[in-house]
Subunit: 180 residues, 2 copies
């Protein structure tokens, strides 16, 4: 029996719900000492084989010197044509979100990590293409920034699967998106 | 021995961090069936004797027909002069946040519930006048709205005191604001 591949957002937010400062800065997050177990990310990585990035998140990663783990597929979704040069192991896709997500789900594989940012998360959510959210709430208010989901009127009921507290005060909320 | 009175924000937010829709609407919150125990609010009420409201929150309450519980002091803070007519049991204060909070802390009494909205929470936070946040995270994304704290660059470290999960999927995060 094959289980359908899930598309999962696994992301950290500030205590006031932002994924980054307005300019994309995440020093408030990256400067924290990594606790033993790293919030379950290593286990989570074993359940996925594909990462999806929005264009802005991808470009911010390039600018800040992030390297891409080529043990997974890395796909950048963008409405714009790809840049002249793309790092090895990165696929650029300009397909619309709905058909792309259906096609991806239709192929064999593990679950899919939707990395963000808020724009691509909003687009997938509006197409009913997100199965779960794992949100690690950092015990810091940053005051303003990029919201988890690109702003638009929504009403999305969630089912809480678990809430896990880490010794450093991070709380990880795991939700299933309820299909309405 | 007298313990100093604490100023505490106890508020619900959507799963994406908003306290209300852009127009103040909280139907996504108020339409939920109230669970037994009502998220600990009755116990919390026994620990406070004063409620503080921002002007917009107060006016929204008036418009939506909310009545004020006169078993506690109800104080509205505003930079504008009070309206011509104020309901019985409501005090209007136009003093600056810092001196007002110090004066209030200096009088005998129980803890103080800072009701919101985001503007008054931001002003108190910036003056170092909030001791604790109790945030009940509702398992619903609303997509856009009024943030918990009026937007401004901040870096406010928090200490997680507890995280409590309710049967309906609400997670209540209790933080102490760390004085820097």
């Amino acid at each position: 029996m094959t289980t359908e591949r899930k598309i999962i957002v696994n992301i950290a937010t500030s205590g006031d719900g932002y994924i980054a400062r307005p300019d994309g800065d995440i020093e408030w997050l990256s400067s924290r000492p990594a606790p033993k177990g790293f919030y379950g990310i290593p286990e989570f990585l074993r359940t996925i084989d594909t990462k999806l990035f929005g264009r802005k998140t991808f470009e911010h990663a390039l600018r800040t010197g992030v390297t891409f783990d080529t043990k997974t597929r890395n796909i950048v979704l963008s409405r714009q044509p790809p840049p002249a040069s793309v790092p090895a192991g990165i696929e650029f896709v300009t397909e619309a979100v709905g058909p792309f997500a259906e096609r991806l789900r239709g192929t064999e594989g593990k679950d899919i990590w939707l990395m963000g940012g808020g724009g691509i998360i909003g687009a997938f959510l509006d197409e009913g293409q997100i199965d779960e959210f794992i949100i690690s709430v950092i015990p810091t208010f940053i005051g303003e920034g990029i919201p988890l989901i690109a702003p638009r009127h929504r009403l999305v009921p969630l089912q809480l699967l678990s809430a896990h507290t880490f010794p450093d005060g991070v709380v990880q909320l795991h939700y299933r998106v309820q299909k309405t």
